[in-house]
């Protein structure tokens, strides 16, 4: 059972206090979008074995969403970060590189 640190309240909490929200950084496609773009937004996910950026909600705590970078195979957590970001922050990417290449 995973432990993740909620960046909003600073607590490391177990999975039962959280709710999963699927892949992060999915770009919303609105009424003007093409069928392929809308399909991508609504249905197509990476389902990566390895590094994965994902959404979590601190459901039994502060109620806020956050994002996590996690290896889906080893369950290593490279970091958690604000949901109010369009892409993974540099320090998270650095950490992933360090752990994967180093």
């Amino acid at each position: 059972m995973l432990l993740l640190t909620c960046p909003n309240c600073g607590l490391s909490v177990e999975e039962t206090e959280l709710a999963p929200g699927g892949e992060a950084h999915v770009k919303r496609e609105g009424p003007e979008s093409s069928d392929p773009a809308f399909e991508e937004y609504l249905f197509l996910r990476d389902n990566a074995k390895g590094v994965h950026f994902e959404r979590w909600r601190h459901a039994y705590g502060c109620g806020k969403w956050f994002l996590a970078a996690r290896d889906t195979a080893t369950l290593e957590v490279f970091g958690t970060y604000s949901a109010q970001t369009l892409e993974p922050p540099a320090h998270i990417l650095d950490r992933i590189r360090e752990r994967k290449d180093g």
């Binding site: 496609e29 609105g30 979008s33 809308f38 959404r55 459901a59």
Partner: protein, 991 residues
């Protein structure tokens, strides 16, 4: 014959005799005995029957790895099957029953399976499933049902209670042998929070039995000293009777503590499951001795050498007077020493090895014990009891060289580290060729959230088998000085997987690998021959290591036989997967407190107690309980619903609508936000007014509906369905936090702050006026308006909305005042015959009006346009959630199933979920369908059945008669009509 020895038994208290009952017979035991040792002390060698062949079996082991001595313990609501007698501590009055034997343990009819063993080979079940059907039904099934299964399931509800507890620590040490104690002390001295668990009742593990000396102290004394230090340390929690059951991700470990299983007094919880979060887990789980595969190795009286040592030293019991020891390694020689010390005889040691030259072996030889090298056992001699062994050359095919008289055989096939906990979460293993064992590969541990290894095996669990190796290993791992002990140099082990090596088919069919599941060398070889070459396939085909064994005793021997047959190396064949729990955990323990009233939370409205006191028949609505109806004495539920509907339509009804979701949405961007989450335009709603709104997901599917009231320019109150309150709140927060985080909107869930009471019917206004304080006239509070103010003694918001088609007010009041307001309304409504109504009357009335219900008319594949709700989907807005989804081609098709009303020609009520039948059949030969019933009721108002349904192109087919399925009956004809059955012009609600 097994018996209690005149002296000895370090764990028993001979001054404290106890009475226990086994299969109805009283027996004498001592405090500290296990059930197994107590039975042996009473001459009860046979303790169970094997699973498939019903062969008589005795103990093989002395701990959790015991495969044979499974018992039913306790009675009635405290009965539990399949407890290992080797772990069950006795107490006064303990009741134990043998299992899998019928009619009795001594004479078991199932034994015929044994004589017909060649008809029950590996894969028996699978092969049987292919038999002709009648044969299966009349011959195999009754037979298998009688024979299969271990113990009988308890017949009564569990009387005991159980609990969980959460614990957090730096280091969790699993295993309280010398390695575990030393590691716990080291971690404690570093200032870490330590939890130390030990599955047995006693600490110290094997060391005291094996005569180990540490720091010049006998192991018993060293252990006692170590315990004293740990008990004094404030940062150490010590839990005996507590098994490390499973290791999970990120340092989560389940440990199962037994609280009353070993005592007569059953007060308090029976077991406590510890949910431990450990930064680091140290597994000091020791090692398990392996049996040897020789013909007759399952006979009562054949026992693991180390287990026999345990019985003699710990409990002062023996399995026999004359014990032949058979081994492939040095360790079994310790058993010879223990037996001789206890005054028992060891006629011979049969050692399969070519040479055995070590201090230990020579010490035993020095005591006059005959050691037969390069020999094996060809046969176990005797009827119900062993009278001797036939000795053969290990290298041969089993030709008997001599017979040696004995009544007990102690065997040792070497030791396997207990790697279960290490492996549960992905720790990998290496193969040690010299010791013929898998051991944890320290370079490939299970990893935690930081990607670092979080489990460290120590002592025997790491592969260190001698005391000196164990202490050195712990010292190195924990970075402390190693206690002093004498180093040993055992003579090398010889990997022996079959005895004798050249045994033919007849002997191989008498060599057991898995005692519990009756898997023999011949079965594994047959599996390989039939193509089940993967170890995981072979396991399932033969049932090797299934049930409670889980790779404890049978694993390595089975793998070795498979590898030999496949001509592969053992590491190449690999092991099966080790999965938690280490030993079975009772379901009650896993349920913890969640039983009876605590099984799951039931949500109660502020008026729950009133409903309960006034005869409500409850309906679960999610976790809520809502009154379905309020039947009067002698009244059926259907009659009650009809009365409630009629009374409401004719005069006045009152409904507890508190479960409705109430979300306060507030901020400068609130209107803009609601325009996005609702399909309708909400920004144009005027303060003081209400609007019915729909919410769709991005697929375009209708997800929730409800009335939105605009409080002021920046504030809205959004009502959701009862089931939707939480997830719509989450849905809104999701969009605000993760998509439009620069929008200034707050959402506050006020669902539980307010009770909501619906006052419904032509007399509703009279009652509000009687309470006074508020102008509720049609002019002041028109349909779809709302006001805030004082009604009688209450601060309320009154919404003039209707889900029934009647004049209706929904009154929101702070929850703590709900009961008082409800009573005031009841009192004021007496003259108008006010009638509380439940959810079913609510449903009937909304269906009579053709109002859709989320979850009835919708199922996650329905868009608002399918329900004729196009009017509530804005065409002016550029965007809203679901808009793009609804533009997809699938939703433009003319033959989509759309909402209509349905009236049977005979006035009967359609079946819920019934399908409308279309011509022809599909590719699977099933009748084609053209629609289905979504809501169906008897309408007391119209006095006939009414229904709503989705029918292909339905709205264009008004008046057409189609047929609907009925279960077990002929289809019924129904006419397609408007879904609004009652007051189509809405005159009644708008007065």
């Amino acid at each position: 014959m097994s018996t209690r020895l005149a002296k000895g038994g370090r764990l028993i208290n001979r001054d404290r005799p106890l009475g226990i009952r086994f299969d109805g017979r009283w027996m004498r035991a001592y405090q500290g005995d296990t059930l197994a040792s107590a039975l042996l002390a009473n001459g009860q060698l046979v303790m169970g029957r094997s699973f498939k062949y019903h062969r008589p079996r005795s103990v093989m082991a002395c701990g959790p790895e015991e495969p044979n001595a499974l018992m039913g313990i306790g009675q009635g609501g405290r009965f539990e099957p399949n407890r290992r007698a080797t772990q069950q501590i006795v107490y006064e009055g303990l009741e134990a029953r043998s299992q899998n034997a019928w009619p009795s343990l001594d004479f078991d009819i199932g034994r015929v399976n044994d004589w017909g063993a060649r008809f029950l080979p590996a894969g028996f079940y699978y092969k049987t499933f292919l038999a002709p059907r009648p044969f299966w039904k009349h011959v195999f099934e009754p037979f298998i049902r009688r024979a299969a299964g271990l113990g009988a399931a308890p017949a009564e509800p569990d009387e005991d209670r159980y609990e969980y507890t959460y614990a957090h620590c730096d280091t969790l040490v699993v295993g309280g042998g010398i390695a575990g104690l030393l590691a716990a002390r080291a971690a404690s001295e570093r200032g870490e929070r330590v939890v130390l668990v030990e599955q047995a009742a006693h600490w110290g593990g094997r060391a005291p039995v094996d005569g180990v000396v540490i720091d010049d102290l006998p192991a018993d004394v060293w252990v006692k000293n170590a315990m004293e230090v740990l008990e004094k340390a404030e940062n150490v929690t010590m839990l005996p009777h507590c098994e490390g059951s499973g290791v999970y991700d990120h340092g989560y470990v389940l440990c199962n503590e037994s609280l009353t299983d070993h005592i007569a007094e059953k007060a308090g919880p029976r077991q406590r499951v510890w949910r431990v979060r450990a930064k680091h887990v140290v597994t000091a789980t020791g090692a398990i001795e392996r049996p040897l595969a020789f013909p007759g190795n399952d006979r009562p009286g054949v026992v693991l050498a180390s287990a026999l040592r345990d019985y003699v030293v710990n409990y002062g019991v023996s399995l026999g007077d004359r014990t032949v020891i058979v081994t492939n390694n040095d360790d079994a020689y310790r058993t010879a020493l223990a037996l001789l010390e206890a005054g028992l005889q060891v006629p011979a040691i049969i050692d399969a090895r070519g040479a055995a030259d070590s201090t230990l072996v020579n010490e035993v030889r020095g005591l006059g014990v005959n050691v037969h090298l390069e020999r094996g056992i060809a046969k176990v001699i005797g009827g119900d009891t062993i009278t001797g062994v036939a000795v053969c050359l290990q290298a041969g095919e089993g030709a008997v060289l001599q017979e040696i008289g004995c009544d007990c055989i102690a065997m040792s096939g070497g030791w396997s580290p207990v790697v279960h906990l290490w492996s549960h979460c992905g720790g990998k293993l290496n193969w040690d060729e010299a010791r013929a064992m898998f051991y944890p590969d320290p370079t490939r541990p299970p990893t935690d959230g930081n990607g670092e290894g979080f489990v460290t095996p120590i002592g025997a669990a790491s592969g260190a088998l001698t005391t000196a190796e164990v202490l050195a290993n712990v010292a190195e791992t924990m970075d402390i000085a190693a206690p002093a002990t004498e180093a040993e140099t055992p003579a090398p082990l010889a990997p022996i997987w079959m005895m004798p090596q050249g045994a033919g088919p007849e002997l191989r069919a008498k060599m057991w690998l898995d005692y519990q599941n009756d898997v023999k060398v011949s079965d594994l070889r047959l599996a390989a021959q039939e193509g089940f070459e993967s170890v995981e396939h072979a396991k399932r085909y033969t049932t090797l290591g299934m049930a409670t064994d889980q790779g404890k005793l049978s694993n390595i021997n089975g793998l070795a036989v498979l590898a030999d047959r496949l001509d592969e190396s053992i590491p190449k064949v690999g092991t099966t997967t080790f999965r938690p729990p280490y030993t079975p955990v009772t379901i009650g323990a896993l349920a913890g407190e969640a039983k009876g009233d605590l099984f799951q939370p039931i949500r109660r409205t502020p008026l729950h107690d009133w409903h309960d006191a006034n005869g409500a028949y409850w309906e679960p609505v999610g976790q809520w309980r809502r009154p379905y109806c309020y039947p009067k004495p002698g009244e059926s539920h259907a009659d009650a619903v009809a009365r409630e509907v009629k009374n409401t339509r004719q005069s006045l009804g009152i409904l507890d609508a508190s479960t409705l979701g109430k979300l306060l949405v507030r901020g400068p961007d609130a209107a803009r936000f609601l325009d996005m989450v609702y399909t309708n335009m909400m920004s144009s709603l005027k303060p003081g007014r209400c609007r019915y709104g729909l919410m769709c997901d991005e697929n375009g599917f209708l997800m929730d509906d409800g009335v939105v009231a605009r409080i002021d320019d920046q504030t809205f109150l959004c009502h959701t369905t009862s089931g939707g309150a939480e997830h719509i709140h989450i849905w809104m927060e999701d969009w605000l936090q993760c998509e439009w985080w620069d929008w200034k909107v707050h959402v506050v869930n006020l669902t539980e702050q307010f009770a909501q009471i619906a006052l419904v019917g032509p007399s509703a206004r009279n009652v509000l006026e009687a309470l006074g304080g508020m102008d509720v006239s049609a002019g002041a509070l028109p349909f779809m308006g709302w006001v805030e103010g004082r009604l009688g003694d209450f601060n309320v918001k009154v919404y003039r909305i209707s889900f029934s088609g009647e004049l209706s007010y929904e009154i929101a009041v702070p929850a703590n005042q709900a009961q008082a307001l409800w009573m005031a309304l009841l009192e004021a409504g007496v003259a108008d015959d006010i009638t509380p109504y439940g959810t079913e009357a609510l449903h009937v009335m909304r269906a009579e009006k053709g109002f859709v219900m989320i979850g009835d008319e919708t199922d996650g594949t329905v868009i608002p346009q399918d329900l004729g709700l196009d009017w509530a989907v804005s065409k002016k807005k550029d965007d809203f959630l679901g808009k793009r989804g609804q533009q997809r081609a699938e939703f433009q098709k003319p033959d989509r199933w759309k909402l209509v009303g349905l009236e049977t020609l005979d006035g009967s009520v359609l079946e819920d979920g019934a399908y409308a039948i279309a011509d022809g059949t599909n590719d699977n030969g099933q009748t084609n369908t053209q629609g289905r019933v979504t809501s169906t009721y008897y309408s007391p108002t119209l006095e006939r059945g009414i229904a709503m349904g989705l029918v292909a192109n339905g709205p264009q087919r008004m008046g057409e008669v189609i047929k609907f399925t009925r279960i077990g009956k002929d289809p019924v004809a129904a006419r397609i009509v408007s879904p609004v059955f009652y007051d189509p012009d809405g005159e009644k609600q708008n007065v």
